[in-house]
């Protein structure tokens, strides 16, 4: 990354022109993201048996919109982001409540608000919102303050108020991603290890209660199926079994583009959304799977690098939170289709068909980019343009 020393003081103050900010953007990261999307485009084309409709073409349009969002978000002054982090968070909370109250019924779950042109999925927006809110909160804390249990009450509330709302939609996958990404953020903010252990222990105690009281029947089925998938090969275990068959039969080099028998003969469920990795691995084999995984790792490394390069706590936390969120997306999805964890509805980032997920991801990438662009900006303790 270029060290533009002659303008470093201006960078620090965040008074860059639009042109300078564009120059500061990591276009190589955009390139890698585009690479991942290109794989997704090809897979959606294959999923439709060699047709850009109904999935690949609309998804491309969304990606182009998403690129706009990415660049647009990256251009926003990071101090504005910090100032309005809570506002954004509460707005998304409000949307979640609206969804809960009168959300459209879709796929057996109330997840969407029909805005006419787009189905808005507030639970997706909660992912960046919670990262921004937590980052802002922890940015203002000193090390000693983080050590005090009382100071953790507010961030815990920030996490655990929206999570049940999302979980009862029900969207267990998103709830899980939010909790785990937040845990990562807590960790990065310096919360003591023993506190995680305590919460973890609490969770273990709460687990049976959650299993029997909170989870829906179909979710319990999925867990049972996960524990013993062959027990019911035509029922709940069908999806995961077929997914493993598809993956395994793909072998090292795969069956060839558009030649996946499991995918194209409909044995594989949801091949354009949650199980798209299976299709990729069936058609391009382990090699194809590894290439995609490597591209994801490249994005992860960019995320870490941006966090390390960032000079302010807010940016570091936002970068780490988003990177962790991104990691959780692809890890949970891939682990799920390979039968490592129970079936949870988490899309494969940049690949799975679906508007909100893609646009949210592009928003997250935009935020990551924003941190990179504003890595050297001086941030006040409580946000905004402050007293420096």
């Amino acid at each position: 990354m270029k060290d533009l020393g002659f303008m470093s003081s201006r960078l620090r103050r965040g008074e860059m022109s639009f042109h300078e900010k564009l120059w500061q953007m990591s276009w190589s990261l955009v390139f890698w993201i585009a690479c991942i999307f290109a794989i997704g485009f090809a897979m959606l084309y294959s999923a439709a048996n060699g047709s850009v409709m109904p999935w690949a073409e609309p998804q491309l349009a969304r990606f182009i919109v998403g690129l706009g969002i990415l660049v647009g978000v990256a251009m926003i002054d990071i101090r504005i982001l910090m100032r309005y982090a809570y506002v954004f968070y509460f707005a998304v909370m409000l949307l979640l409540i609206v969804v809960e109250l009168r959300g459209a019924i879709g796929g057996g779950a109330r997840r969407w608000i029909d805005l006419g042109i787009i189905n808005l999925q507030p639970s997706e927006l909660m992912k960046p919102a919670i990262v921004l809110a937590l980052a802002r909160y922890f940015h203002g804390l000193g090390i000693e303050e983080v050590g005090s249990p009382l100071s953790l009450l507010v961030p815990l509330a920030l996490v655990f108020v929206p999570v049940p709302l999302i979980a009862i939609q029900p969207d267990l996958g998103t709830a899980l991603v939010i909790v785990m990404a937040s845990a990562g953020l807590f960790f990065m903010a310096g919360v003591r290890i023993w506190k995680f252990l305590a919460v973890g222990a609490l969770g273990v105690i709460a687990l049976p209660v959650a299993y029997y009281k909170v989870l829906h029947d179909y979710q319990r089925d999925r867990i049972r199926t996960f524990l013993n998938p062959e027990s019911d090969p035509l029922g709940a275990g069908y999806h995961i079994l077929q997914s493993k068959i598809a993956l395994g039969s793909g072998g090292l080099f795969g069956k060839g583009f558009m030649a996946g028998t499991q995918s194209h003969l409909n044995f594989l469920p949801e091949r354009q959304t949650d199980f798209i990795f299976t299709m990729l691995a069936e058609e391009f084999g382990m090699i194809g799977g590894l290439i995609l995984l490597s591209l994801y790792c490249v994005v992860l490394i960019y995320g870490y690098a941006i966090a390390f390069r960032c000079r302010h706590q807010f940016g570091r936390l936002v970068a780490m939170g988003l990177t962790t969120t991104f990691f959780l997306y692809f890890f949970i999805n891939i682990a799920m289709v390979m039968g490592l964890i129970p079936v949870v509805g988490v899309p494969l980032p940049m690949i799975s068909y679906g508007g909100t997920a893609l646009l949210t991801l592009m928003l997250c990438m935009g935020l990551l980019m924003n941190v990179f662009v504003h890595r050297d900006v001086q941030m006040a303790a409580r946000g905004g343009f402050g007293d420096f």
């Binding site: 090390i143 003969l265 962790t324 490592l340």
Partner: protein
Amino acid sequence: MMITRDGDWTKMFNRRAVVLGGVQAALITTLVGRMYYLQVIESDRYKMLAEGNRINVQLLPPPRGRILDRFGQPLAVNSQQFRVLVIPEQTPKVSDTLNALAGLIELADYERDRIKKDVGRHRSFVPITVKENLTWDEMARIQVNAPDLPGVVIDEGLTRDYPHKDQAAHLLGYVAPVDEEDLNGDPLLQLPGFRIGKAGVERLYDSVLRGQGGTSQVEVNAYGRVIRELERREGEPGADIMLTIDERVQTAAAQTIATQLPFEEQSAAINVMDIYTGEILAMVSSPGFDPQIFGRAPTPQEWKDLSSDARAPLTNKAIAGRYSPGSTFKPCVALAALEHGVIAPEQTIHCSGQTTLGSRTWYCWKKGGHGSVDMPTAITQSCDCYFYEVARRLGVDRIAAMAHKLGLGELTGIGLPGEQKGLIPTEAWKKAARGEPWQQGETLNVGIGQGQVNVTPIQLVTYVARVANGGLAVKPTLIRATASTAAAAAAVARDNTDGAPTAMNGLESLSIPPEHVEVVHRGMFGAVNSGGGTAARAALKLTDADKLDWKMAGKTGSSQTHGLKRAERALGERKTWDTVPWELRDHGLFIAFGPFHAPRYAISCIIEHGKAGVNAAVLVKPVMEAVLHLDPSRKPRVDEVAAAAPGQEGAL
């Protein structure tokens, strides 16, 4: 201060970032490991599972072998049938389509119900049979209206067809859908709509006729829809079977019954056999039935008609009917008598019309008696008193021994399902079966083929054949050749190389002296050809090219059912048959062979409740004339159409 705080932050942040990164790297490594496990280590297993998912093996039913007569004439063939199917996913509304179809072909309510059920049970791309066995007209009507019938298709299939309809129904049997108990591991049996032989030759030779199923490997999707065929292995069509039957003789026998007996009294069986080869030339059981109705499952009405008919149309009387042989048994008793020397042929016994034994009296059928009769005369005139006396002298066991020797009371080994064994009583049998000692009076009844004696028509024809061929242990057989008409042609040619029957040398002799046989032959000749013979009405008037008279010899028999007592009959009630209900009348039997100067063919005939043996003799006469005229054992068929062009009817 701010700087140090910032520095602390940075140090901790970096430390923790490395930890978090390490955790993430470890998890990603897990993913890679899992990928390696699934896609490399376990790959072969999953490849197999994927192929199993994708590939369905479908069985192709082989065409069933034909059943041909000895000259290659078709007796059972596969004919093309047309059926109409509806594919639910291609038709907007199935019930509307059915309504439209009902305007073109007949559709009963129960058929509609079945279709509706089938549609509900299958996925929407599975064609559902609407109606089978369409006539040409029906098919044409549907074809013409095809544009208005979306999703309706006409399909060609094979159905078993019996050109002779009911004339050989029992012999050939029929094919019908597979039952639970038929399943024996042959996957063909599990094919929906597959038919197997359930009776007669169809059942006996089912394994030969069935053939081997082919397979078609098809690629299917998750819903079972066939995407394409990957590989096809044709099966082995069932082999043709050539029977010993001559379709012309079979037809003659069946038509004789049909034309000479009143319809409601058509309950009869006729067997025609070559006395040297044992080849059955005709086997008719009447009334018959249309074997095809079993292929498509009989309607309730058809089933009721068949099962409630007092004439037992479903029983093959030719092998499964058990009848007292009556006087047809007398040649057997005569041979036993000669064998054991209890009487000389020319020795006479006086018949006064009745015989007394102890306190009981046995009557001869002829009121007033036959006077003094020797053995040939006793056979010719069927004198009961003569045979009472001979039987008394012989004892039942010696009669039974001769009966068994001649093939009575034993399974003939023809193999057809349902063959009955019959019974020839002995002293030991009665002891075992009833726990009572044998009474001499019973021996007298046995002497005229009554009492416990009962035999089947196929045994009777075997018996008369063995008498006719001079005591050779011939056995009835149905199979001429399997596989090809060429073999049949060879068999015919072989028979024609010389006049001598080829199977003769292979036959075991029953060691009956020729002079004994000659006596019985003389008696049986007289029965048909002398004025006083019981079957004089059936005498042939047949002269061959060499101006040689062709005669037949025979023996009538009447077997009591539970109708009139012999005593009552003897007391002048013989003219009252027509006042007796049909089912109480005596059975009429006749056994015969011909031509007398060089015997070759034997016939047995039974008319249930046919009143008297002479009626059976009258039926046999045209059949014997036909068989002598055609001489199927020696002469090739004149109109060699089928033999010259084999495989036309059954061509698939």
